[in-house]
Amino acid sequence: MKFYLIIAAITILLPSCLKQSIPDAMLGISGKQTKITATLRYEINGNLVSITVEDADRQGPGIHTLECVKSSNYVLSGITSSGDFVFTFFTDSLKVGNYNYTSSYGPMYVTTFQGKAQYVYGPTDHMSFNVTTYKDGHISGNFSGQLTPVITPGFPNNIYGVPGSVSIKNGSFTNVPVAY
């Protein structure tokens, strides 16, 4: 009887030493995948906007809710309940540090608020991002800004509202995955 129990125990214990499933081993995925929660929060004219993505590294095929994609630059994008939020880091190598965009570089769309597109456009408009950590393919940091709404979209020129009338405060982002 002991013989069979020992064989059974060995059978159970031996494979338990293998931390990966066969597909994970073949794909080179680490055995214990930890879920990383990514967040993006900010106040726009006092209204809180918040995105939370559980298991941010596996957002599946199609549109991702929150990520930073490397192309010629790095584009941070999030999908909120009221629209989207976009900021481009104009660098080919993202590092910890400050990234500012002012209207002197030209108009830049950032988000939609109360049904109106918000741009860096007015003379004092800006978006200031501070990347505080960039570790294991994820960035965290904070940001603030000042924007101008588009009253009437048009091509080639939008008609803008009161310059600098929309402010973004207390912005923060954590564990946003950087995709290549």
Binding site: L5, I7, A8, T11, I12, L14, I22
Partner: protein, 181 residues
């Protein structure tokens, strides 16, 4: 009403099993990163060759399938293990409770996964199969049955697919014991 339907379904299923000599099991993949898989199903052919009053050498060919949650039948894992085992009854009669270690080879192993871009990733492998099981052999009328619980692992490429299985089978034996009539 629901209970009545369930009982009727169970009776019909038992009758089908008895008539078809079917051998079926339900399974659950366990281990890291297996939460995305639904309960799996297996069908197998298992025969025994008595080598003593207490024991049989068994041979089993199975097909196990596990679908991934949220993808219907598009993605999942299929494994077809061929195994030999030694089934030892604890009371030494060839009936009742038994333990059974098994070893074998995974003839076919395919795991189909979605990639980040939505494309299919098909992984093919074989591997060594190890299993440890326990069960209870009994008869309904003159039909012998085997209710069993098993832990099984397929080892390949430095990883392992592990699952537990609860099965019921109609016992098929190559020959009768001397005590059987």
């Amino acid at each position: 009403m629901f209970m009545g339907k369930r009982t009727l379904t169970a009776i019909v299923l038992c009758l089908l099993i008895m008539q078809a000599n079917a051998q079926i099991s339900v399974m659950k993949l366990i281990g890291n990163n297996t939460k995305d898989y639904k309960i799996g199903f297996g069908a197998f052919i298992k025969t025994g060759l008595p080598v003593s009053e207490a024991a049989d050498v068994t041979f089993e060919l199975g097909a196990n399938i596990f679908f991934m949650s949220g993808y219907g039948t598009q993605y999942g894992t299929i494994m077809c293990p061929l195994k030999a085992g030694y089934r030892h009854t604890l009371n030494g009669t060839g009936q009742g409770f038994y333990v059974e270690p098994q070893v074998g080879y995974n003839l076919i192993g395919i795991t189909s996964l979605p990639s980040e871009t939505g494309e299919n990733i098909d992984l093919k492998y074989h591997g060594v199969v190890l299993a440890a099981g326990a069960g209870y052999m009994f008869t309904i009328g003159r039909a012998p049955f085997d209710l069993n619980l098993r832990y099984e692992t397929v080892v390949a490429h430095g990883g392992s697919n592990n699952f537990v299985s609860l099965g019921i089978s109609r016992i098929i034996s190559f020959k009768k014991r001397e005590t059987e009539y």
